[in-house]
């Protein structure tokens, strides 16, 4: 029944230059070619970025495969903010979660599937935080350098990758409480460095 | 007659009877790589011959070898079928299947690989016949020409060594016909293609070898040039009454084109001999009797 509904949905006209939301509407209508365009556009950078999170290329490939399959299944749930023509942030949240689930599968095969939460684009709340990481601000590099690797990893997982504290704890393999304190300490240090 | 056993298709004295009527009557043929055009009027035995070549029909008598094997034996027949592509006349399908599902089903019947390889092959042939965009359409929603191309796609699956096409261009528009010709001439570099048709233009464009059947017998077996040579001196154009009993038709400029099978002389004082086309030669060969307007 679901398949039938998918087939009946109106297919927008799209091409290799269409914006992500148009492609996602087409994907939701069952257009495999639209997924191919989206894959071609986003897979390379997602792969590069995941490569910094996991050194096993097979796991990265598997996570990416699952990412685009999740896109195929849940393209309809993508709701762009008005005027936003880019699904990059949304795709990243799916990709990093798929990687975590891949790593968990590898680590504990007996633990079942991740309880699936709906994929939400990293919200505006973190926009202020991501400013902390803008490369163009001169002093930032130095500030990041001054952080210990542990604090940097905590910042990366929560602010940059948009993970929840729980997910960050999973990928960093530390308790959730530790993630929270490290993030707080790191943010404080960065603010200090940038405002001084 | 040579004793070589090679050659993809070899027939010796092949006869197929329906009751007392012989649809094929002592046919001797050797077909090799490239495209062979099979010509003849309706009921000449073309489709019977095609079905024999397709292992769909056993000859009543005579010797038939396909790809070096005997289709009369079960195991050898299966081996032939693995390397055979057949587009039957008036192909029919399950109308409720999608194009993709139908070819997938055919691919299973053709024992083509695992699922992934099979689907890739289905996509490949769908692209070849220009139906890829319609792969998820149900067969009943496809036009006649599309169904014809779908059947062609089915025949092309698995890169057959022997490709049998019975009236393949029926229902195709001129553009698709050109595509079809390109496709077949490309395939013919490796495989043996037999093209049974009424479309002389397709034969002229594609075939390096022509076999013409009449009444279940082979009446011509050779190169198109040889067939045309036979017609030289029998084709005329001019004004006036072409006479009775000759095949002729009116040209757009008001003159007549006349075929004179028997006499080599001009049908009238105003007529001059012209270079025959393959169609002229074919009409002369099978002795079509017709006058104005064909």
């Amino acid at each position: 029944m679901k398949l039938l509904r998918r087939a009946r949905r109106r297919v927008p006209s799209y091409g290799p230059d269409s914006a992500d939301p148009v492609l996602l509407t087409a994907i939701a209508a069952g257009e495999a070619e639209a997924l191919e365009i989206l894959h071609r556009r986003h897979a390379p950078w997602l792969r590069a970025r995941l490569n910094y999170r996991c050194s096993d290329p097979d796991q990265v490939d598997a996570a990416l495969q699952e990412t685009f399959l999740a896109v195929w299944k849940s393209a309809a749930s993508f709701t762009p903010r008005p005027g936003d023509t880019d699904a990059g942030a949304w795709l990243w949240t799916i990709a990093i979660r798929q990687l975590i689930s891949q790593l968990r599968k590898r680590a504990n095969r007996w633990i079942g599937e991740l309880e699936t939460e709906p994929y939400e684009t990293i919200g505006d709340a973190s926009a202020e935080d991501t400013v902390l990481l803008n490369i163009e601000h001169g002093p930032l590099g130095a500030a990041l350098h001054s952080l210990s690797p542990e604090l940097r990893a905590a910042i990366q997982a929560t602010i940059l990758d948009g993970l929840t504290v729980r997910e960050a704890a999973q990928i960093l393999q530390i308790p959730e409480g530790t993630v929270k304190t490290r993030v707080m300490r790191a943010k404080a240090r960065l603010r200090e460095a940038l405002t001084s | 007659m040579s004793l070589t056993l090679t050659g993809p298709v070899r027939l010796r004295g092949v006869t197929r009877r329906y009751g007392t009527r012989a649809a094929l009557d002592g046919v001797d043929l050797d077909l090799g790589p490239g495209v062979t055009g099979l010509l003849g009027r309706n009921g000449a035995g073309k489709t019977t011959l095609m079905r024999c070549l397709a292992t769909d029909l056993d000859p009543t008598s005579g010797e038939l070898r396909l790809l070096g094997r005997d289709p009369g034996r079960t195991t050898e027949r299966t081996e032939i079928r693995r390397r055979l592509g057949y587009l039957p006349q008036n192909p029919d399908f399950y109308p409720h299947f999608t194009a993709f599902a139908l070819l997938d089903y055919m691919a299973v019947l053709k024992e083509l690989g695992g699922r992934r390889a099979r689907h890739d092959e289905v996509r490949r042939v769908l692209r070849q016949v220009g139906l890829y965009d319609r792969r998820h359409s149900r067969v009943r929603r496809l036009s006649g020409g599309m169904r014809q191309r779908l059947a062609l796609a089915s025949a092309l699956m698995g890169d057959p060594d022997l490709l049998l096409l019975d009236e393949p261009t029926v229902g195709l528009d001129p553009e698709q016909r050109i595509r079809f010709r390109n496709l077949v001439s490309h395939l013919a570099t490796r495989s043996t293609v037999v093209l049974s048709t009424h479309q002389i233009e397709d034969v002229a464009a594609l075939c390096g070898h022509i076999v013409c059947l009449d009444g279940g017998r082979v009446v011509f077996d050779g190169a198109p040039g040889d067939l045309v040579d036979r017609a030289r001196g029998h084709v005329w154009e001019g004004t006036g009454d072409p006479g009775i009993g000759l095949t002729s038709w009116r040209l757009p400029d008001g003159r007549h084109r006349v075929l004179t099978p028997e006499t080599a002389g001009a049908p009238g004082p105003s007529f001059t001999a012209v270079e025959p086309t393959l169609e002229d030669a074919y009409l002369l060969l099978i002795g079509v009797s017709g006058t104005e307007g064909r």
Binding site: G88, I135, G141 | P88
Partner: protein, 267 residues
């Protein structure tokens, strides 16, 4: 953002995992919101094509019908399920009408005196009719295409016969169990051996003629036999299902199946 973008060298280094951790964090923060810089990352065409091929394998395939899905859940090979599910419309009509006819027979058995006779003489013929409508030129629209494939002939015929026998035997057994006089399981399947014998007879005969014609001949013989028995005997030929007769049916069935196997092996 502020007009700052990655240089091609930076993009290249980042993609090649040569960027240090801190720069990488900054690059990533920028990439998240800058599609043009993302597209500067070098794409490995072969990797992309491979990735897409395995994705396409999942997202772009023919939808499986209900029957095919159910069949493959029973542990059959996916290919076998596909072949079994692809049946001519006539076969589907047969399946539908079998259900209707069996319901009518049951209704008759429960309401009319001696109404169960309808079932008695119907059940052995149900599979035979199914076989007649499952395979062959003129019956199966795709027959001309399918008949010259390596799977055609005995293998496809065997599959189609299974596609007939399994539902037919299940339906008839089910109906048999619901008959008013059914006490033991044997009462429900008295028709089984005759039914199988008729099917094997038509398959054997089908090697010489069109299967539908063969089934017609066998069905005709069955009816003729019943008439002859009833004319010579006491009216209703229930004797053909008696225990002694069942033994003869068994012998006949074994002979026919043996002949079938022999013919298939030899050919």
């Amino acid at each position: 953002m502020s007009g700052w973008h990655l240089t091609p060298a930076q993009a290249h280094d980042y993609a090649a995992r040569r960027t240090d951790e801190i720069t990488a964090m900054s690059v990533e923060a920028h990439l998240m919101h800058c599609p043009p810089c993302r597209s500067m990352l070098p794409a490995d065409e072969e990797w992309l094509a491979d990735g897409w091929a395995s994705l396409r394998d999942v997202v772009d395939r023919p939808r499986r019908g209900v029957v095919e899905t159910l069949l493959s859940h029973t542990g059959l090979r996916a290919e076998t399920a596909k072949l079994l599910a692809a049946t001519p419309r006539l076969y589907q009509a047969w399946l539908g009408s079998t259900v209707v006819v069996l319901i009518a027979a049951l209704a008759a058995a429960h309401t009319l005196p001696r109404g169960s006779l309808m079932f008695v003489f119907l059940a052995p013929v149900v599979p035979l009719v199914g076989v007649a409508l499952a395979y062959g030129r003129g019956i199966d629209p795709a027959h001309t295409l399918a008949s010259v494939t390596p799977m055609a002939g005995q293998r496809l015929l065997f599959l189609r016969t299974c596609a007939v026998l399994v539902p037919a035997l299940l339906l008839c057994t089910g109906a048999g169990l619901l008959l008013p006089h059914t006490v033991t399981a044997w009462d429900a399947i008295f028709w089984l051996l005759p039914a199988l014998t008729l099917v094997s007879g038509s398959l054997l005969l089908g090697r010489m003629m069109h299967l539908s014609v063969a089934s017609g001949v066998v069905g005709g013989l069955w009816v003729l036999g019943l008439i002859l028995v009833s004319l010579s005997g006491q009216g209703v030929p229930l004797g053909v299902f008696a225990p002694q007769a069942q033994m003869w049916w068994g012998v006949l069935l074994a002979t026919l199946v043996g002949a079938l196997v022999f013919r298939v092996r030899v050919a």
